[in-house]
């Protein structure tokens, strides 16, 4: 028995060492867990309800957009209030290119990403001259301009663009319009799950990309820049270059979030991309944890999934009140984000352990 425990321990240690050597593995494992959770509604063994499945979709979309904001805000110290606008660009861009021009999905998505990257470049250039509150509200202008274009310009079809079935790689078409309850029977009805899986893969890829950026000299340059621009410059870090990179990556990730929305819901609404959505996503980053990738996911869970899934049945209409209070309370009492609760608990545990050991030792000393 004891032997088994020990071999488990060494295996676990080996596993931890492997993760340390290849950090992206943790995101892949995380994605795998999500993939298994997604099977819940189909088999009923795993306690994941249909509602949770739906909420997880939104959480993943938010996480991708929020990772962009985390890079910009947490690492780069810059803010953008145009996130929702660029999510709209993603969903509607794909919609337009596919329905109006009949482009294949991949081309439409690529084009949309390029366009948003170019817009991000423009904001980056803008940020070189405008700073602080003026920059924040400047990006709000961009968000509002995009929103007015979506809702006013006839090409977007008023309320929404219906994209319909999307064919991936020119081959695989996934029809999601089957009602969920019908999935309990028959093998051909896993299709909605495939869409869920695609979103999971995209989110995991985004997490890995952001991880790689953050852990490279580019990421360190971001952090040096947000700490002090003057000091960063004296180390040869070009502020212009890294501001542009930060804005381009952030807008492209927001757009990717929008594309994910289009993939799953197969339509693109024009009215959903409001300031409140942008603020919610920033809220997710701040509450979850600035400079933390899993924290961003956790923040999206706290701000979207928890209120919708657990608080609505308990408190009914007061749920959004609760979300608001939660944001305020977390910022006041846990300004670094909820994810750091874990690190802090660990630290506390370490201290306790030390104190206990210390006591033992002193006791020992007294005895001898």
């Amino acid at each position: 028995m004891k032997k088994c425990m020990e071999c488990m321990k060494t295996r676990w240690n080996r596993f931890v060492a492997l993760l340390k050597r290849h950090p992206p593995l943790q995101y892949v494992i995380f994605g795998g867990m999500l993939a298994i959770m997604g099977l819940g509604p189909y088999f009923g063994i795993i306690p994941v309800s249909t509602a949770m499945f739906g909420a997880l979709i939104t959480v993943m979309i938010w996480t991708v957009a929020a990772l962009g904001i985390n890079l910009l805000l947490g690492y780069g110290g810059l803010i953008s209030l145009a996130t929702a606008g660029f999510m709209g660009v993603g969903a509607l861009g794909v919609g337009i290119f596919m329905t109006e021009y009949g482009w294949p999905f991949e081309l439409a998505a690529l084009m949309t990403l390029l366009i948003s990257g170019a817009l991000g470049l423009l904001i980056g250039i803008f940020s070189l001259k405008v700073s602080g509150i003026y920059l924040a509200i400047g990006t709000l202008f961009v968000g509002e301009i995009l929103r007015r274009i979506f809702t006013n310009v006839p090409i977007f079809g008023g309320e929404r663009i219906n994209i319909g079935e999307i064919t991936f790689l020119g081959r695989f078409t996934i029809d999601r319009n089957l009602p969920f309850q019908d999935f309990a029977t028959g093998a051909s009805q896993y299709e909605r799950y495939w869409l869920y899986l695609i979103l999971t893969v995209l989110m995991v890829l985004t997490m890995i990309v952001v991880h790689n950026i953050v852990k490279s000299s580019t990421g360190r340059a971001f952090m040096a820049m947000s700490r002090s621009e003057n000091a960063a410059q004296s180390m040869g870090i070009s502020i212009i270059k890294y501001r542009l990179i930060a804005f381009i990556v952030a807008t492209m990730l927001a757009t990717l979030g929008g594309i994910m929305y289009a993939i799953y819901f197969q339509n693109a609404p024009t009215e959903a991309w409001t300031l409140i959505l942008s603020l919610m996503i920033i809220g997710a980053v701040v509450v979850g944890g600035l400079k933390s990738i899993f924290g961003t996911f956790l923040g999206a869970v706290i701000i979207h999934l928890v209120p919708n899934l657990y608080l609505r049945p308990l408190f009914g209409d007061v749920r959004s009140l609760f979300t608001g209070v939660l944001i305020i309370v977390v910022i006041l009492f846990y300004p670094r984000g909820v994810v750091f609760v874990v690190t802090d608990l660990k630290k506390l545990w370490g201290k306790l352990k030390k104190r206990l050991q210390g006591r033992k030792e002193t006791a020992h000393d007294e005895q001898s």
Binding site: M223, M235, G236, I237, K291
Partner: protein, 264 residues
């Protein structure tokens, strides 16, 4: 020293104005290779402004500031941008410690090597072999420097929460990461305990002797300045008062007056 001294940094009639205020007034002095030079003066004398001119934070000064490369070519620093100063061989530390708090000590030191990285953001995203190799090379170098400073055992700890003496060392380590020939230290001993100051003193000597780096420093802890510097330059109201050995500076009547005020 017997060999003729080669200059490394030369200020020639530098004047810097802010509106009507003259912060640096027609100041000239030279730092030589392998020399430790202190720049002293009462509060508001314009010391940090001198540093900021030399590192091109301010580029609208009058006069010129020259830097001599290893080959002996003189470079007019005005022709360089702020970001081009480090690659040239001048690195600096800051009065208010500009470290990234929630990054490990090793990563903070690695920021110093930033301009040496050849890989760009695309290679970083896909973590190509070149990017990984490069990261390894500079990590090894950073560890070497941390070992040199006796703080290698702390490399994976966050900067936040470290004692002041360690923070100062990390800043110096980061400056050394840039492979400089001249390090400019802005109040390195401020806030240190006596023991830490002694340690810093030895460290500065070792940096000069083992890495052949010249040092220019501002410091208010006069004991430290007088112990460590080969020569000290005293200024007041941005004007040159005297530049001499520490002993002579301490006894210089005008320096005394600048510090203690005139009795009249």
């Amino acid at each position: 020293m017997n060999s003729p001294k080669k200059p490394i940094l030369e200020l020639n009639k530098v004047t810097m104005r802010f509106g009507g205020l003259v912060a640096v007034d027609n100041l000239s002095f030279t730092v030589h290779e392998k020399e430790i030079v202190g720049l002293i003066g009462p509060n508001g004398a314009g010391k940090t402004t001198v540093f900021n001119c030399a590192t091109q934070f301010y580029d609208d000064y009058e006069g010129d500031i020259r830097f001599y490369t290893e080959a002996g070519d003189s470079v007019d620093l005005r022709s360089k941008k702020v970001t081009e100063i480090a690659p040239l061989g001048i690195s600096r530390t800051f009065q208010n410690i500009e470290l990234v708090q929630d990054l490990s000590i090793l990563d903070n030191v690695l920021i110093g090597a930033h301009y040496k990285f050849e890989t760009g953001v695309f290679r970083h995203i896909f973590k190509t072999k070149k990017a990984r190799d490069e990261e390894q090379v500079w990590k090894a170098r950073a560890e070497e420097i941390l070992k040199f400073m006796n703080i290698a055992h702390l490399k994976h700890f966050y900067v936040a929460g470290q004692p002041y003496g360690i923070l100062k060392k990390i800043e110096i380590a980061r400056a050394m990461m840039m492979n400089p020939r001249l390090i400019i230290l802005d109040e390195p001993a401020a806030g240190l305990t006596d023991y830490e100051t002694d340690e810093l003193e030895k460290l500065v000597y070792r940096i000069r002797d083992e890495y052949n780096i010249s040092i220019l420093l501002i410091e208010h802890d006069m004991g430290f300045v007088m112990n460590i510097c080969d020569r000290v330059c005293a200024i007041n109201f941005g004007k040159y008062i005297a530049m001499d050995t520490p002993k002579n500076i301490q006894e210089h009547p005008e320096v005394k007056e600048a510090y203690l005020g005139s009795e009249a």
